[in-house]
């Protein structure tokens, strides 16, 4: 579904991502892990189109999307969450979801209806998303006034509202307590069962080992291992990257 071919991103002399090949297959949860500064978040930013590639290509469903602006990539079905939460703080929970709702269908609508239509057609869908993320009782609350855990759930809910095929989760468990991580684990599994494909960037190794079908490991902007969780766990290069050499 997503095919990264030798992608690289250099910031001046820093090679944040340095020639990574990675394939995400339809319907799988691919975990992407690595020590701090290994280039995980940069990959998410490249796939979602926040900065241009230095070299390489990004294919989505077989089409080269390397030069598409980020809003167009959402239209094709790639949505993401942010490691540092980026909600619309002065909009209500409900409005946050409305902004993202149906951005795929909307692209097919004529210009006038896309911009001057109201929310009538999407209310049921927003309600379902609110229920699933246990935010229904907070619908009129401003996003800025939610607790940290609720803001994380809303980020997730907003990404789902764009009805993506591919969901990029950038450290969704950051700052969560054990109970919240368990709920997150269940939600990610449910997403896969509902037919989403997930690229999960995460520091929380337990979570990744638990939900991911396959894991890729980055270090210094390069991929050092890829495979099923158990194999990656035993990989010598991975142990070295995390623990150092003796």
């Amino acid at each position: 579904m997503l095919d990264l071919q030798g992608i690289a991103k250099h910031f001046g002399g820093v090679h944040a991502v340095d020639g990574v090949d990675l394939t995400v297959k339809r319907g799988e949860i691919l975990g992407l892990i690595g020590p701090n500064g290994s280039g995980k978040s940069t990959i998410v930013n490249l796939v979602s189109g926040l900065f241009p590639l230095t070299s390489g290509r990004i294919l989505f469903e077989g089409d080269d999307i390397s030069d598409l602006p980020s809003h167009a990539r959402v239209g094709l079905g790639i949505a993401r969450t942010f490691q540092n939460i980026r909600l619309f703080g002065q909009l209500s929970v409900w409005q946050n979801l409305w902004v993202a709702q149906n951005s795929r269908q909307q692209r097919q609508e004529v210009f006038f209806k896309r911009w001057f239509g109201g929310s009538a057609g999407v209310q049921a869908e927003i309600e379902r998303t609110l229920e699933f993320f246990d935010l229904a009782h907070k619908r009129h609350e401003l996003a800025a006034n939610l607790s940290f855990g609720e803001q994380r759930r809303l980020e997730f809910a907003r990404a789902i509202s764009a009805r993506p095929n591919l969901l990029l989760l950038d450290e969704p468990a950051a700052g969560m307590n054990a109970e919240e991580v368990d709920q997150l684990d269940a939600r990610i599994r449910k997403m896969r069962d509902d037919g989403f494909t997930v690229l999960l960037i995460e520091h929380h190794v337990e979570l990744v080992m638990s939900v991911a079908d396959r894991i890729a490991v980055l270090n210094f902007g390069r991929k050092i291992a890829e495979g099923p969780p158990a194999a990656v766990q035993d990989d010598a290069a991975v142990r070295e990257a995390y623990l150092g050499t003796r």
Binding site: S48, L50, P69, S70, H71, A72, V74, G75, A79, R80, F82, R86, L87, F88, G89, Q90, L91, Q95, W98, V99, A100, S103, R104, Q106, R107, R114, W115, F116, G117, G118, S119, L142, A143, A144, N145, R158, S161, A162
Partner: protein, 297 residues
């Protein structure tokens, strides 16, 4: 001060309040563009006067076009000028340099002014004053028909505008972009389209405001651009940069006070007091009338 003076004072406040709806519309335009782009568009009031001139040009073939047509023509011209202002003054100017767009809009302000002066040879043109023969009398007190028309039209525009902002996808997208430009792109919003539409919508509001001032004064002159720019900016600051309800209330207040000061101290001193009001707000309420506590983001 005897009773007659009091009635005259109340009369001038009422006149000013009615005309203040023009300032309110201009304030909305300044504040919305600031909200979405975090840039001041100094050419906005000049563009509004330009749109009023444009409506004269569009309708020059018709004698005595009905009021509705005049204002619709002004709104149309305003929308077109708004899009042009965006593409000339904002689209290709580096965003990272805050002064660059400020200077480009000053340039546009002068350009629009010069175009008006050269096409009209600087001579004021008569603008159709609407319902100027209607006067509602309440004892000593009277309400001018042309000002009431301007006020009602201004309020109707504000209601339509607020519906657009709070009930449509464009409105919610506009507010999303102003709060989190990056996240809104990743919700599938094209920032280019939102920016262009914001300039078109505010341009239409400005065109109507320009036509309203023309109709209330009875003529159009290139000399209107500068005072309207200053008043629009004052309204924007007093209302709180980025606050739409603030701009509406501040527009009416500035209109009413301007007229009152003119009655009390004469036309030459009037703007002095409005400026003092601006300084008072900058010192004591820099966030505007409706300044609210900052949120948690």
């Amino acid at each position: 001060m005897d009773l007659l003076d009091l009635i005259d004072a109340a009369q001038s406040v009422a006149d000013g309040l009615l005309f203040g709806s023009t300032y309110a519309l201009l304030g909305i335009g300044f504040t919305l563009i600031f909200g979405v782009m975090h840039k001041i568009n100094l050419s906005y009031a000049a563009a509004s006067i330009g749109a009023a001139y444009g409506s004269l040009l569009l309708l020059s073939g018709f004698t005595a076009a009905p009021a509705v047509i005049v204002f619709m023509a002004a709104a149309l011209c305003g929308g077109v000028i708004g899009a042009l202002v965006y593409f000339i003054g904002f689209k290709f100017i580096p965003v990272a340099n805050p002064l660059a767009t400020l200077m480009s809009t000053v340039g546009l302000l002068l350009l629009i002014d010069e175009i008006i002066v050269h096409t009209t040879e600087g001579v004021p043109l008569a603008y159709p004053a609407l319902y100027s023969d209607v006067v509602v009398r309440l004892g000593q007190f009277m309400l001018r028909g042309d000002l009431m028309f301007v006020f009602v039209l201004g309020c109707a525009c504000m209601v339509l505008f607020l519906l657009l902002l709070y009930r449509t996808r464009l409105g919610i997208a506009t507010r999303a972009v102003s709060q989190q430009p990056i996240a809104s792109q990743l919700c599938g919003i094209s920032i280019l389209q939102v920016n262009v539409l914001t300039f078109v919508v505010t341009g239409m509001l400005g065109g109507i405001a320009g036509a309203m001032s023309g109709a209330a004064i009875g003529m159009l002159s290139p000399l209107l651009a500068q005072p309207l720019t200053v008043k629009g900016l004052i309204v924007t600051v007093i209302g709180g940069l980025g606050s739409i309800p603030g701009a509406i209330i501040a527009g009416l207040i500035v209109g009413a006070l301007e007229s009152l000061f003119q009655f009390l101290r004469g036309v030459t001193e009037r703007d002095l007091y409005i400026m003092m009001l601006l300084f008072a707000f900058l010192v004591f309420r820099p966030g505007g009338i409706f300044a609210k506590a900052p949120g948690r983001d």
